[in-house]
Amino acid sequence: MGTEPQRPNGDARNPQEVGDAALVARARSGDREAFGLLVDRYADQARRVARAVLQDPDDADDAAQDAFLAALVKLDQYDSARPFGPWLMRIVANAATDRRRRRKVRSAVSLDEGLVAGGARPDVLAEREVLLGRLRVALDELPERRRLAVVLFDVEGYSHAEIAQVLGIPEGTVRSEVFHARRKLRALLADWRDDG
């Protein structure tokens, strides 16, 4: 598990740290260092969200990079009265979706059949990797919107209202999508160990 705060723009951040709005204001005026701090702050989150859409880590990184550069160009459109994270994640999700559409045919995640079937488990690490592989496959089988909803809610810690803003859907639909995604994914977690 990573040691970073659950939400880069959340309460877990060091109070001495410069807020997102201040960094955006500096970046708008051409301060590239401020933009770099924003990228550093949201890099992991953006890459995870992009990967939730694209599966392939390299494609996800390309999409996340596209999203950051698009955000740089669109910074004038950002309303600083609102949280920066959902605004950026919407751009990330759109960039990832666009990339997937352009790619047309998505290559399926290739997992060894034995692993998917729960084959040999030589040690705990291998067992963990098998479970992660299954989880990725299960995630991949979810509709894209459902996948994004559960990742934004349970991994990134966004609220239903914020996710509704990111995905452009009603809040009630977000709740429903999270529920259905969880119902499928939880079934895989019986053997999950948090200390892995």
Partner: protein, 110 residues
Amino acid sequence: MTESHTPFDHRPDARLGAALRAALDPPQDRAAFVARVLAGGARTPAHPVEHLLARWAARGIVVAAAAAFIAGLVIGRARTSVEPSVSDDPGAMIADVQSEPNLLLVATGR
């Protein structure tokens, strides 16, 4: 896993979140990724051409509107100064009013 969750559950599922995070976490190369984004950003102008054009267009519209307003004022004043002033003579005013129907009659007579 013993908690019951409903669609209206507002609590994040820490266990599922941890597992998904592990499944989606990128490699530990954030610095390299940030450097890559910034390198791309260095090639991206802070204000690309379309934004620049949009700003110029907005300024152009404001300037054109101001110019049109000023031109309207100038032309309006010029016309006011060229047109004959309204006479204070009641007889002349009546003659002006009466001359219009005559002109109309001539026109319809053709």
